[in-house]
Amino acid sequence: MFKLLDEAAELVEIELDGEAVSVPADVSIAAALLYLDRLPLRQSPVSGSGRAPFCLMGICFECLVEVDGLRDQRACQRKVRPGMRLRRQLLVSAESGA
């Protein structure tokens, strides 16, 4: 969905949903996921509808991902690091409590 202006820019390897992927170095996790076009990024705990980054400035809370085991991290507020383990929050049943 998004590409690097500089095609020769450095990439780093991280893990997404258990799979090794290459993403631009030193960008936000949200930017990396947009680069990978791995959308939706999560499912809303209310209805399960798919969501993706919206504002990228930390106030919409749509870009919540699990980072190294910690849930509900705003992907736009943290940068990728080599070896980072990301999981999209796609399982609704564990959260709904209904």
Binding site: R71, A94, E95, S96, G97
Partner: protein, 371 residues
């Protein structure tokens, strides 16, 4: 200043919170032409602060009639919830699987045990409770910290979503043809035309009966019609978290998990006057206490913290009082609008409509304060 409009009703209920709305629903069933006058969107509203507990344990240790009242009210809840669901389609989320009140040290345990015994004594063994030590407690709630001494448990307790309860009551009012009017703050009232006259800035309401359920404003408003209800605000601060996978099978006084999965953490008791603001000190203290009880919640995010003002009578027990000077004017004040909602909607509303309920309400007159 523009001219005021005059309106006629059989009954005017002043206050559209949990108390006013529940009572108005009850009165409306009698077919009376009813108006509910409610305040502004940002006024003090104890109903929005309410923790949502349907709570019997610990109530009325020094006031047996109150212990019985609470128990009776709690027992009516399942029926009441079903009635509301049926009539309005709103599920108020009642869960009545008992309630726990944690004891974090030996002093708390001793004090609680003695309090529970006293209630049991006063209610002639009607009130059921158990003191659970840590091992027993963790059979029911495994996530409780090994550091927690134990808890008192009562099978009659439970919780509900107080905001959905208010929504259901308002929907019911609408269905029953009650005239609900927000932003109608009452300035004064007086006897007149064989009934009463209630004044707001924009309207004059003429009615045969007026019921004051206006929270902290009751003290000031009721005076006009010969009712003396001493009240003071008692602040409680609460925390609510983001959604968490379900783990709490019942209500507890310190932490409860809502249907949506969010956790409510309460509460404080602060004598600070008409000040609803939060303080960093108490918010921190509530978080610490929650983690002392449930250490696994450390990574859970706080969604919001707020404060609300409880409506406290001098002994914390409700006032149900008809004016001696001006029969037909009623004062209803309490801090347990959730626990007592069913009772308010049935017996109390019935009493106001003339049903013979003197025995029920007699212990709760304001006269007991010797004002």
């Amino acid at each position: 200043m523009s001219a005021v409009s005059h309106l006629d009703f059989d009954t005017v209920v002043v206050g559209g919170g949990l108390v006013g709305a529940a009572i108005a629903c009850g009165i409306a069933k009698s077919g009376a032409k009813l108006a509910v006058l409610d305040g502004g969107d940002r006024d003090f509203r104890a109903s929005r602060g309410n923790f949502g507990l349907v709570w019997v344990q610990g109530k009325g240790a020094d006031f047996p009639a109150y212990a019985r009242l609470s128990a009776s009210a709690a027992r009516q809840w399942p029926d009441f919830a079903a009635e509301l669901l049926d009539a309005t389609g709103v599920d108020v989320g009642l869960q009545q699987t008992g309630g726990y009140d944690f004891c974090l040290d030996a002093d708390e345990w001793r004090a609680r045990e003695s309090e529970m015994r006293q209630v049991e004594l006063h209610t002639g063994g009607e009130f059921e409770y158990r003191m659970l030590d840590n091992a027993e407690l963790r059979k029911h709630i495994p996530e409780v910290s090994p550091q927690v001494l134990g808890a008192s448990y009562s099978p009659e307790d439970g919780h509900v979503n107080p905001l959905y309860l208010l929504r259901a009551l308002h929907r019911r009012l609408d269905d029953l043809g009650v005239e609900y009017r927000a932003r109608q703050v009452v300035c004064s009232s007086s006897p007149g035309d064989g009934g009463f006259v209630v004044n707001t800035e924009s309207h004059v309401y003429h009615c045969q009966r007026v019921v004051f359920c206006a929270g902290l404003s009751n003290e000031r408003l009721c005076r006009d019609l010969g009712l003396h209800v001493p009240l003071r605000p008692l602040r409680g601060q609460l925390l609510i978290t983001d959604r968490v996978p379900p783990f709490l099978p019942a209500a507890t006084l310190q932490v409860r998990q809502t249907r949506e999965g969010t956790l409510q953490i309460g509460d404080s008791h602060e004598d600070v006057g008409l000040d609803e603001s939060t303080t960093l000190e108490v918010v921190t203290r509530l978080a610490r206490r929650a983690l002392r009880i449930f250490p696994h919640l450390a990574e859970v995010r706080l969604n919001r913290a707020w404060g609300a003002l409880r409506v406290m009578t001098p002994d914390g027990v409700p006032v149900y009082q008809q004016s001696d000077e001006h029969p037909g004017a009623y004062a209803i004040s309490c801090h347990s609008g959730v626990t007592l909602a069913a009772l308010h909607s049935r017996e109390i509303a019935g009493w106001i409509c003339g049903e013979p309920r003197e025995e029920l309400v007699a212990p709760f007159t304001a006269g007991r304060f010797d004002v």
